[in-house]
């Protein structure tokens, strides 16, 4: 029990090179699935431990915190760990079937290794309490992400991956500069230690610059509105499994970093009073919602469509942050959780379609509602959840967000958000129309339902979607107490 925090990261990490020794893809898949499940169980145990004993601190190498590297798990970390490891496990169930048609046979083993490394990177970013360690694990996850995206079948995948590499590296280097400036002013790299030492130098120009660089760097990774250009292509051309995994987790990790740096490291008073961060997040979030949703309406490829929708959802999440209240932060975290569930399901379902008909152009979907009823139902339910229809998980997070906005008396913002949801209705309706009210294309008449492993993983997420839409005790309680502890209130 004592070593859970480190095992959470090290088990998938050590499993990756072991896969190289196993060689046989079938075996490697089972092994990766097993490892991911173990990681999921560990994250649940960690959550339980956190909620009984409070923050867990684990000193690597037995060196005390500011000198050695510390792993620090509180409720926020535990929540993120669960999101990441759970989606990873569910997505892996379908992986074997999906990559059969999308990736050449001799690269299957390498695919699983990269997948595990990417999982490791994300888990590492979330668990660590050391600013520089964040950078190292960020690079592990990004490097594996670039290679995974480049494994896509079309040549556009290569170009998308290269663009992502350039943007991602600039972002990471910005974070590195920020960490360097911070270190120069305080002499420490440990987040807890930084948060104690930064207020003494908070008024200096250097700390302001450091903060800006870190925020911009994270926003590049996050694909916040004006910096989102790399995302749609990367999501659209990557292998379907990779898209499902990244759409559910990658932006979440970046948002975690944003919350961690603004709330914990720099502290509330610095982030929200010294800087106009609140207004900035609000404006960028709103613009992101409107622009990305409108762009989504005009997409011809459904993967592109939902990629733009992801950018819009990031907008919702950021607006929650900008309210600077416990309620708003709860909404943000809830939406993190719920968005992972619904986007995971949607992209997995798209993966199933790609498996059956070879691409994800909107035209090809016509009439598929009768051919692949379960898969299509999953896409529609996911879409409804994106809109925020009651009984789905999306409703809960939208509800909390609106409550938080009304609490702040931000009526215009609330109205704009409803408008954004309206745009969501439009693009989801386009898909519904094509799926159910059009005749199937000639070449798609013999299409059948997706393979069973696909259906298992898709419907696991859909059922979770309904469950968290109806029984909100678990998710709301968890996010609320995480938000309260971030604001320094005792839960």
């Amino acid at each position: 029990m004592l070593h859970l925090p480190i095992l959470q990261v090290v088990i998938p990490l050590m499993a990756a090179p072991l896969c190289l020794l196993l060689k046989r893809p079938q075996l490697v898949w089972l092994f990766a699935l097993f490892v991911s499940t173990v990681a999921f169980i560990i994250s649940l145990l960690l959550l339980q431990q956190v909620s009984t004993t409070g923050v867990i601190s684990y000193e690597l190498g037995g060196w005390q915190a500011p000198w050695g590297i510390e792993y620090r798990i509180d409720q926020l970390n535990a929540l993120l760990l669960i999101i990441i490891s759970a989606t990873s496990t569910v997505v892996l169930i379908a992986a074997q079937t999906s990559i059969e048609k999308e990736i050449p046979k001799n690269k299957h083993t390498l695919f699983y290794i990269l997948y595990l490394l990417s999982l490791t990177g994300m888990l590492g970013i979330v668990s660590t309490g050391d600013a520089f360690n964040v950078f190292v694990f960020l690079e592990i996850s990004s490097l594996s992400a670039y290679s995974l995206i480049a494994l896509g079948k079309k040549r556009q995948a290569l170009w998308a991956s290269f663009q992502y590499l350039i943007m991602g590296t600039i972002g990471a280097t910005f974070i590195l500069i920020g960490i360097g400036l911070m270190y120069q002013m305080t002499g420490t790299l440990n987040m807890e230690d930084l948060s104690q030492r930064l207020p003494q130098v908070a008024q200096t120009k250097t700390v302001f610059t450091a903060f800006t660089f870190i925020i911009v760097g994270i926003c590049l990774k996050l694909a916040l509105f004006p910096l989102h250009l790399w995302l749609p292509n990367a999501y659209a051309y990557a292998p379907s499994i990779v898209t499902a995994f990244f759409a559910a987790t990658a932006t979440k990790v970046a948002i975690y970093l944003l919350i961690r740096f603004t709330f914990t490291v720099f502290g509330l008073s610095f982030s929200f009073t010294t800087l106009p961060l609140q207004g900035l997040f609000l404006v960028l979030g709103l613009m992101g919602i409107i622009v990305a949703s409108s762009a989504a309406i005009y997409q011809k490829n459904i993967k592109h469509l939902f990629a733009y929708s992801s950018i819009a959802q990031v907008g919702f999440i950021i607006i929650g942050l900008s309210t600077n209240s416990v309620m708003g932060l709860t909404a943000t975290l809830l939406h993190l959780f719920n968005h992972a569930i619904m986007k995971g399901a949607i992209f997995l379902a798209l993966g199933a379609v790609v498996y059956q008909i070879g691409n994800s152009q909107l035209v090809n979907f016509s009439g598929l509602g009768r051919k692949m009823p379960l898969t299509m139902a999953a896409i529609v339910i996911g879409g409804l959840s994106l809109i925020g229809v009651p009984l789905t998980a999306g409703f809960i997070s939208k509800w909390y967000l609106l409550t938080a906005l009304i609490e702040n008396n931000w009526w215009p913002v609330a109205i704009l958000i409803l408008l954004g949801s309206l745009l969501t209705v439009i693009y989801v309706w386009r898909i519904v129309e094509v799926i159910y009210f059009k005749e199937p294309l000639a070449e798609n008449t013999s299409v059948t339902e997706a393979p069973i492993l696909f259906l298992i993983s898709i419907w696991t997420l859909i059922i979770a979607n309904f469950y968290f839409g109806i029984d909100t005790r678990f998710s709301v309680q968890l996010t609320q107490s995480a938000a309260q502890s971030l604001f320094g209130l005792s839960p």
């Binding site: 070593h3 480190i6 090290v10 990490l13 050590m14 990756a16 090179p17 072991l18 190289l20 020794l21 684990y58 000193e59 690597l60 190498g61 037995g62 060196w63 500011p66 000198w67 050695g68 590297i69 001799n106 690269k107 390498l110 695919f111 290794i113 990269l114 490394l117 490791t120 590492g124 050391d130 520089f132 360690n133 190292v136 694990f137 690079e139 592990i140 490097l143 594996s144 670039y146 290679s147 480049a150 494994l151 500069i177 400036l181 120069q184 002013m185 305080t186 002499g187 420490t188 790299l189 030492r197 200096t204 120009k205 250097t206 700390v207 302001f208 610059t209 450091a210 800006t212 660089f213």
Partner: protein, 318 residues
């Protein structure tokens, strides 16, 4: 400048100059690494790629004004940020007074090796270094996933024929490097095991070792080198390096300490630290060597394949 070859050479020179700057700034370990990596391996890799993609650049600028605005804005912000930075070389700035004094004053008692950089790298912040090894392992795997080609067995006569013709052309340099390569490998091993006392360590040693082998394969042909060091073999070595590093941590877990707590490896904590550092440096060395060789092999194989295809296409056309 639109000749990429010249640009790459200039980048190499820039790296070498910054390495000398690092020496002037007392960062000998970093200088060593920068010289080996920046001026050595990365220049080499870029040159290999240029031979495949052409060395002329289109001179048209892409978005000069946007770029200029971004650059001026970022630069201005950074400039603004520098005004409160502690002055260069001043001993009373926070970084010299908060965390570091413990490394400087106590590491000799706690770890027992004179090179503080190595003790911080391999013990106090061992997990960062583990991450670094995994990063390079990831890059190796990623490049393999991108570039690996199916193997076709080559017949020995052909190799011998090519070998002979090359022997004529590269006689001098072949003989000289035959003399030099053993020394390069020996030097790599020296750097590997001397990292506790002077600048050096697993990473630098790995790069030098890989450079020796890459030199050999450039002069004597890939196929001959591949007979000694086959692809699967390097892959296994790179995995073993990461596993070795990680299992040092796992063993310390089993012994009742925290992850990477070398104190519990042996009964005497300082000896335990020595053992731990030795083992993880070995792990780093293994992974770095094999990944570097792997990267070069994959690049060069791809290049051979391209040339082969080109010749084939020309035959078809004529």
């Amino acid at each position: 400048m639109n000749d990429l070859f010249a640009v790459v050479m200039l980048l190499g020179i820039y790296s070498l100059l910054s390495a000398s700057f690092f020496v002037a700034m007392d960062a000998v370990d970093v200088a060593f690494t920068e010289a080996a990596v920046g001026a050595g391996i990365s220049t080499l890799l870029m040159l290999v790629v240029i031979t495949m993609t052409g060395r002329k650049e289109n001179t048209k600028r892409h978005k000069p004004f946007l770029a200029l605005i971004v650059v001026i804005f970022t630069g201005g912000l950074l400039l603004y940020g520098t005004f409160d930075i502690p002055h260069f070389g001043s001993a009373d700035s926070p970084i010299h007074n908060h965390v570091t004094p413990r490394y400087i004053n106590d590491s000799i008692n706690e770890i027992g090796i004179p090179n503080i950089v190595t003790s911080v790298l391999a013990s106090y912040r061992a997990f960062d270094t583990f991450g670094e090894v995994v990063v390079i392992f990831t890059a190796g795997i990623g490049i393999m996933a991108l570039l690996s080609v199916a193997h076709h067995s080559e017949d020995n006569h052909k190799i011998a024929a090519v070998n002979d013709s090359m022997h004529e052309r590269y006689l001098v340099i072949r003989i000289v490097s035959k003399i030099l390569i053993p020394f390069i490998l020996l030097f790599a091993l020296y750097v590997q095991f001397h990292g506790d006392f002077g600048p050096g360590g697993g990473f630098q040693a790995g790069v030098i070792f890989a450079a020796g082998i890459i030199l050999y394969s450039m002069l004597f042909g890939l196929s001959i080198t591949r007979k000694v060091i086959s692809q699967p073999f390097i892959q296994i070595i790179s995995a073993v390096g990461v596993l070795l590093y990680g299992s040092v941590g796992l063993v310390s877990l089993l012994q009742g300490g925290n992850f990477f707590d070398y104190n519990v490896l042996l009964t005497d904590p300082v000896a335990g630290q020595h053992l731990g550092i030795l083992l993880i440096e070995l792990g780093v060395g293994c992974t770095v060597t094999s990944v570097m060789i792997m990267i070069f092999f994959n690049f060069a194989e791809r290049r051979e394949l391209q040339q082969h295809n080109n010749i084939h296409n020309k035959d078809l056309e004529s």
